[in-house]
């Protein structure tokens, strides 16, 4: 697992990461969310020992990254899919990585197979699309079969099919008991993937929450209903304390009263309903609500 404690990083007068404390436990997917520039990548770079914290510390499996023996078998990371020499063949890129951590050579073929790059194993990376480079980066992260995985914006450059594959893949990694950290600037990307969310804004921790809790806490849940007798329904619900807006002749949007109550009221008064749909706030809306006031300040 990963544990960050009061992690702080400054660049000149800007504080990129500000007193950040969170953990990434084993067996689940922790989404790491924040707008672009919120400090996600800097935090991940500190986890991997690429950048030195100005304050606080971050431990991986109880140790500082620099102290890990054979780090690739402890943590796998995809930080920057472009960080590959374009003149090298994909298999050779993984081979030197394997050599650096005493990982057997056959593992190279295995991970290439796993990410669907077996056929282009001997092609030079120069000709790879961004999506293929992402897959190569994921292969590199898996090389040492590590219990902790870190993916920075892994969906970037993947086609819809690739995104779907990635989602299932990330879930299965957590299912195997690994600690998985996935960052994204889009909350919706994590909606079906993450179990819990670490939300940051301007380098500060805004919230650590479950996806379900975040959705439930968000305001803006409303109910859409269709009825041939819209004016009467409108009056009825308004009298019950709801705020009702008319979308068109047959469609109303209701807030302040939940779907069950609406069904009861209309049934008691013999008013027919063609449709009654409770609408959840999207994760994106919940996120905006959470970060809105802070990033504006």
């Amino acid at each position: 697992m990963i544990e960050a404690l009061n992690l702080t990083k400054r660049f000149g007068r800007t504080t990129a990461v500000d007193d950040l404390t969170f953990s990434v436990p084993a067996g689940c997917v922790t989404g790491f969310v924040g707008a672009n520039g919120a400090g996600k990548t800097t935090t991940m770079r500190m986890i991997l020992g690429l950048a030195r914290p100005d304050g606080g510390r971050v431990l991986v499996n109880g140790r500082r990254y620099a102290e890990l023996r054979r780090p690739l078998s402890q943590v796998g990371a995809l930080l920057d899919a472009g960080a590959v020499h374009p003149g090298r063949r994909a298999s050779h890129h993984l081979l030197w990585l394997a050599r650096s951590n005493g990982i057997p050579r056959r593992r190279v073929g295995q991970v290439l197979e796993l990410v669907g790059l077996a056929e282009v194993a001997d092609d030079r990376v120069r000709g790879f699309s961004l999506g293929m480079r992402q897959r190569l980066g994921i292969a590199a992260a898996l090389l040492g079969d590590p219990p902790v995985l870190i993916f920075d914006e892994p969906a970037n450059g993947l086609d819809p099919e690739g995104i779907l594959w990635l989602r299932g893949f990330v879930r299965s990694l957590a299912g195997e008991g690994r600690a998985v950290m996935v960052s994204s600037h889009l909350m919706s990307e994590l909606e079906d993937t993450a179990d819990r969310l670490v939300v940051i804004g301007r380098g500060r921790l805004i919230s650590v929450t479950g996806v379900a809790e975040l959705l439930a806490s968000a305001s803006g849940t409303d109910v859409v209903l269709r009825t041939p007798r819209a004016p009467e329904v409108m009056r009825l619900l308004a009298a019950a304390g709801a705020t009702v807006t008319s979308e068109d002749a047959n469609t109303l949007t209701v807030t302040g009263v939940d779907a069950a109550r609406i069904a009861e009221l209309t049934a008691e008064n013999g008013l027919p309903l063609y449709e009654l749909t409770p609408r959840r706030a999207t994760l994106e809306q919940a996120f905006m609500e959470l970060t809105g006031d802070r990033s504006a300040s």
Partner: protein, 255 residues
């Protein structure tokens, strides 16, 4: 493990082969070219340093060696592979050490092949062009001074490669590092004659170019004012200094 990884990196790039081949070609080619264009009419004892002249290609090989040493690290910065490297091997000093051993080793081996071939070929051509006894001695690889010049040339290229690696690691940028190195080596060479004697000698003794003294076998007016091994030592001192600074910086700075 680190050494094996770095070796895999080096051998899996085509540029490695090309640049080492260029080094060999430039050394032998340029030495041959100059030897072919030089004739001696014989007569009295000649004062040309024909050992040094037959190793003149080493000057051109410098370009390849500087590029090789610099790019061994800056290509990782340019492609951001350096992040992957330091993630896989968090002990960054070991990365630099492994690179030094491999870059130095490769240049020493290819350098020896280059200087030996250049010497043998150019000596043959020079003899044919009149540089022969009694005006000039017949040098072979068994003669001490010739041997020292040939092996020393390979060592000089090795020192320059290590210096280049160090400067590359410090500046992290190919063009900046190559410019700095070429300036350091060729500016004193070009402008030496415009300086007052005392300053010139100082510059010649203290810049990495001092290592070329290892090629000298005749005391001529245009010879470097420093002993052959001392001169080579100066170049190695520069290399050691650069690598030491690089070692400190690489561990301290964010990648």
């Amino acid at each position: 493990m680190v050494l094996r990884a770095e070796w895999t990196k080096l051998r899996t790039l085509r540029s490695t082969r090309w640049i080492l081949l260029a080094m060999l070609g430039l050394t032998v080619g340029f030495s041959f070219f100059l030897a072919s264009g030089s004739t001696s009419t014989g007569g009295g004892p000649g004062d040309n340093d024909i050992v040094r002249d037959s190793l003149v290609g080493v000057y051109l090989a410098l370009f390849a060696v500087v590029a090789f040493g610099v790019v061994a690290i800056t290509s990782e910065h340019a492609t951001r592979t350096i992040h992957t490297t330091f993630t896989a091997i968090p002990r960054r000093g070991r990365v630099l050490l492994a690179k030094s051993l491999l870059v130095g080793g490769a240049v020493l081996v290819v350098g020896l092949a280059s200087s030996t071939s250049a010497f043998l070929l150019a000596q043959h051509v020079l003899r044919h062009n009149g540089y022969a006894p009694p005006s000039y001695p017949e040098w072979t690889l068994h003669d001490g001074p010739a041997q020292r010049a040939v092996v020393g040339s390979a060592l000089l290229l090795t020192a320059i490669a290590l210096l280049s690696l160090g400067v590359g690691a410090i500046l992290r940028h190919s063009a900046a590092a190559i410019s700095a190195l070429l300036a350091l080596m060729f500016v004193p060479l070009v402008f030496a004659n415009t300086l007052p004697d005392h300053t010139r000698e100082l510059v010649q003794k203290a810049t990495p170019g001092a290592g070329f003294a290892v090629q000298q076998t005749v005391a001529r007016s245009d010879a470097l004012p420093i002993g052959p091994w001392t001169g080579l030592g100066v170049t190695f001192a520069w290399a050691a200094g650069a690598l030491l600074v690089a070692f400190v910086l690489i561990r301290r700075c964010d990648a």
